[in-house]
Subunit: 360 residues, 2 copies
């Protein structure tokens, strides 16, 4: 191919999801030739048949400095932890247990050795927490910025695997934990970063440990810097013999992620605003920034809680869990994807977007 | 951790292998907690026990623009193909069959859609060639340069797996294909690139298709741009019931890669220069550049041929294969790692390095 003769339609024109669609169609022939590959592109993980009763689920994430993380607002050890948790969260979204991870990093040669050691210490502690192994990977140099690639493999019994597709009218829509904390925490961190840069520009001292002492915002900041993957929820499902009808982890925001479930399942849904569990600190922070905490929950993303649907007869078991909220109901597709607000008005959720790469 | 208070020993001071050692020691506790993870860092792949008789081998590579690839000398479709082949080569080096791949890319929003499509077309064609599936991955934006992360999983029967360790005194050292072609091809491509840049600086026309028409250098250039992973050799071993005692793929150069086998196996070796299969075109190119083709083979790297050791009683079977050369013998560790040159002199191979990241 001659690069110079190509027609230059930039990726920004078709966006992340347009790009994924084109890639899917190109790789479909290699997928068809591999009968053991159960699912390729399109869910939280790829699914591969290991043996008659077991599926392997695998996911990979590529984190780029100043796109996915900012070293001015992220302690390095937390970065290592989050890099792993984000991929483990994808494993949980398939109702699977994480088994091992491979990580690759590319670093400028001037990077301090201690940076890498601290990063891997964060990853290792987090791997121990999830009872999984860090199985190595690749290190190489880069010119300017740091790239971290994480791949996690997990396992799940064939009849327990949970896809984004599978939700049916009448199912209950549930979410774990509370939402909006990550976006709220990021707001505070960005304000702190700008303050720090201003101090530096003015030649003033700035004690960077302040960043870790933002006590009144601790829960929101921690939700942003150290989101826990909900392996505990997968264990709860197993203990109570619940298999959700569909599941996804909230990475782009509730509005965008419930839309993924609805699109893949061919259904609609109605979400009840008053039932969305919003982190109390997120409300305080929203007030400070003259924003709405609901926006953080709907389109802030990066909360890494699980969003799933269950049959209504599982309601009692689910309701017994203190950290799961029932927030709505699955409807037929033609009824649309709606948010019933606190005044009883129905708002089209599809009009509220989540994060998408490449848009400028 | 407070970045500003860290002592700044740059990675360049300890090099790629020093860095890997430090990472290994940090992640060892998560490895110990996972009994099914058979091998972590230190071989071509990590090894995970799937079931009683089968191991999964997994490898990951992270390719960074202008470090690992140069879009001025690499057609995009070839880049996709090579990105996959390099990881499949690691799978082959464990004596395993590739099963599926996950790829992630990070791209500046201005990247043409056609670039991504052509890249994935190259990957998909190559996946079909190796009879494996491209199972998706992750796409995201980057600021300036393109990063490509590839993860490949393969399978091998437990008693066929081949590590870098396992070579014993008396074993024969063998190599597939011919060496030095990749480094020689790169020399030609770099000269062509400089010529092109000169034309552009002078405001002259330059027909970029010339790059694909360097007919007399075709084999060397193709060895650099489209190195084939030797899945055929793994199939040959299986057909003839040969399990090498150790194996590695030649990514850093023969000198460095035989040293890895010797270090991991606790042995020495003597390589016979006259038996090293050097690509004839590499000799012609070396003459043009007033270099030696032997250098290309020993420390050029990126040939992605297999370097392995076998018991001497397998000699007849191995010798029957037209594309395998016996190039030396494994010795006790105290006899060192030597190259017997064409004049019969013994040269210390450890003094000849391969490619290592981070050194400036």
């Amino acid at each position: 191919m001659n690069l110079l003769k190509m027609s230059f339609k930039p990726i920004a024109d078709i966006g992340e999801f347009g790009l994924i669609e084109r890639i899917s169609s190109i790789v479909s022939s290699s997928l068809e030739s591999s009968p053991k590959l159960i699912e390729g592109i399109g869910d939280d993980c790829a699914v591969y048949e290991l043996s008659s009763g077991t599926f392997q689920v695998v996911t990979t994430d590529l984190l780029i400095e100043d796109i996915h993380f900012d070293l001015l607002t992220t302690p390095v050890q937390h970065l290592g932890s989050k890099a792993l948790s984000v991929s483990v969260s994808d494993i949980c979204a398939m109702n699977a247990r994480p088994c091992y991870a491979l990580t690759s990093i590319a670093l400028p040669p001037k990077t301090p050795v201690e940076f890498v050691e601290t990063l891997y210490r964060g990853m290792n502690e987090t791997a121990l927490l999830y009872n999984m192994a860090l199985a190595g990977g690749d290190t190489s140099s880069s010119k300017n910025s740091i790239s971290i690639s994480v791949m996690v493999a997990g396992e799940v019994e064939k009849n327990h695997i949970t896809y984004r597709k599978g939700a049916e009218p009448g199912d209950l829509v549930c979410v774990t934990g509370s939402l909006g904390g990550s976006a709220a925490g990021l707001k505070v961190l960005m304000r702190e970063k700008n303050l720090m840069l201003e101090h530096i520009r003015n030649g003033e001292q700035y004690d960077r440990d302040l960043m870790n002492n933002l006590g009144e915002y601790d829960k929101a900041i921690s939700q942003h810097l150290l989101p826990p993957a909900r392996v505990d929820i997968v264990a709860f499902f197993e203990k109570h013999m619940i298999v959700p009808t569909s599941m996804i982890d909230i990475s782009d925001g509730l509005a965008s992620d419930i839309a993924h479930i609805c699109k893949m399942s061919g259904v609609g849904a109605k979400i009840d605003e008053s039932r969305i569990p919003i982190l109390p600190q997120a409300r305080l922070i929203a007030d400070e920034f003259q924003d709405e905490a609901l926006n953080f929950a709907l389109s802030g993303g990066e909360d890494y809680q699980l969003l799933f649907t269950i049959k209504p007869d599982k309601f009692d078991t689910i309701a017994s869990h203190p950290d799961i909220s029932v927030i709505g109901k699955i409807n037929p597709e033609n009824e649309g994807l709606l948010l019933k607000d606190i005044y009883g008005m129905n708002i089209d959720l599809l009009s509220i977007g989540g994060y998408s790469h490449f848009r400028e």
